[in-house]
């Protein structure tokens, strides 16, 4: 169930809210409160644009518990335009093959299905090919 745990992460999951370090201007996602670049405190919220490009990717066939309905799915590491690298699924690929360097943008999708009848549906960020490229 973990309701409070998922509730605490809603800003990150739904809106890619991370932090900016006021000392060295590093943009941080996920938020971590101590800047890994300069070691100073970093607690100022920062909204990421959701734009980025694919750093690497793979296909998942043997999905963990709660992800079987989505399998096979494409998992990626996405380099956000503001700097951080994050782990997320690619979605809405259609006939497009994923590729290193592919421009992508954030969308909100179902991350994980309920694992029992009282379980929660978890929503959060995934990335799709950037719309400009699709059109």
């Amino acid at each position: 169930m973990d309701i409070p745990r998922h509730w605490r992460l809603k800003k990150q999951r739904y809106a890619l809210v991370g932090e900016v370090c006021e000392h060295c201007d590093a943009k941080l996602f996920p938020p971590r409160d101590i800047c890994p670049e300069c070691g100073e405190e970093a607690k100022t919220l920062f909204q990421f644009s959701g734009k980025g490009e694919v750093y690497s990717y793979t296909a998942v066939y043997e999905a963990p518990e709660g992800y079987a309905e989505q399998a096979p799915y494409t998992l990626a590491m996405v380099k956000l335009d503001e700097g951080p690298l994050i782990t997320a699924q690619l979605t809405d690929l259609g006939a497009q093959k994923p590729a290193i360097g592919m421009p992508v943008e954030m969308v909100t999708r179902l991350l994980r299905s309920a694992t029992d009848e009282r379980g929660m549906l978890i929503y959060g960020y995934k990335f799709r090919p950037a719309v400009a490229q699709v059109a």
């Binding site: 745990r5 992460l9 990150q12 996920p30 890994p36 750093y55 690497s56 990717y57 793979t58 296909a59 998942v60 066939y61 043997e62 999905a63 963990p64 518990e65 709660g66 992800y67 079987a68 989505q70 799915y73 998992l75 990626a76 590491m77 951080p84 690298l85 994050i86 782990t87 997320a88 699924q89 290193i100 991350l111 994980r112 978890i122 959060g124």
Partner: protein, 386 residues
Amino acid sequence: MSKVIIAGIGQTPVNEQWDVSLRELGLQAIEAAMQDAGGLRPTALYVGNMLAGTLSRQAHLGALLADFAGLIGIEAATIEAAGASAAMALRVGMLAVASGQVDAALVLGVEKLSDQVPAQVESALAMGSDTDYEAEQGLTLTAQAAMIAQRYMHEYKVPEYGLAGFPLTAHANGAHNPNAMFRKAVKPETYAKAGMVSAPLNMFDVAPNADGAAALLLTRADLLPSGFPHPLVEIAGSSAVTDTLALHDRPDPLTFNAARLSVERACAQAGILPKDVDLFELFDAFSIYSALSLEAAGFSPKGEGWKWAQDGAISLTGELPISTLGGLKARGFPGGATGAYQAVEAVLQLRGQAGGAQVKNAKTALVQSLGGPASTAVTHVLRITG
């Protein structure tokens, strides 16, 4: 300070052991190690385990196993560091014995992965990653390794099958190990035809999950029983280092920085350079890990570790034998117990007891275990001592 000696070793076969419980697995390895040590009795037990709480609904393994092994009264606790759990337990055992507070420390790696279905095991293993920001996106350790491999092969222009030599070597070596899960050499054409698990990793690039337990009994040289029957193997260097938990938080996800630092520190303690070792038991949970571990240990420049997989350089008779008793790939991957197997296998090599997999004149071994993609790296230098 008196040297810390590995006086006894024991292991169970690595496999899916449906008829053996977690505690029975542990007991088999403990009894074998105590017998091997000539009856030396431990005064402490450090258990390396990652997933008993999740997959067996059993915590408190220290008390469980001390009790079940007839050792009630001794100090005992679990040490957890994902895939490096048992290697970290070995380090804790070494520190305890070296400190003088503990005379004989039993280090047990034990893991039971086969009681649950694969989807649950994958979920449980992924708990060693950043649950909130990696596992919750549907990440498995295999998919993560595949993404490392994909980027690595792209950046360094590695040819298709460029990593094949790692699993092929492991399988050739595992054929000589009676405790290995797979004891059969694999042909290059079999590798090339294997089904993809997560591209570019095929089924031979991924170590198989399995059950197993291995144990080492440590003591100080001056406390060894008289007439001790084996050549003495000492722990000459030991280092544990952490990196970012999440792979995506690293400046360069293709560098195992913790692995590099722990090799440097363990070798410095032993007064050697990595090139002085006779074999390297590295953590080949995935073929790409072997390449990155060789680079981290300084055996290759960055981006060239995969070249070791060519031309037999890592075979038993090569320049740097690795995965000598099958590695994780052919011996099998018993989760957090793995580090104990690696150390036990290195001791067999140094004692000259490795049978058909024996590396000639092996005097010094480098042994490294990783938690996740080297989010934790634990390295030991083991060597024959006078």
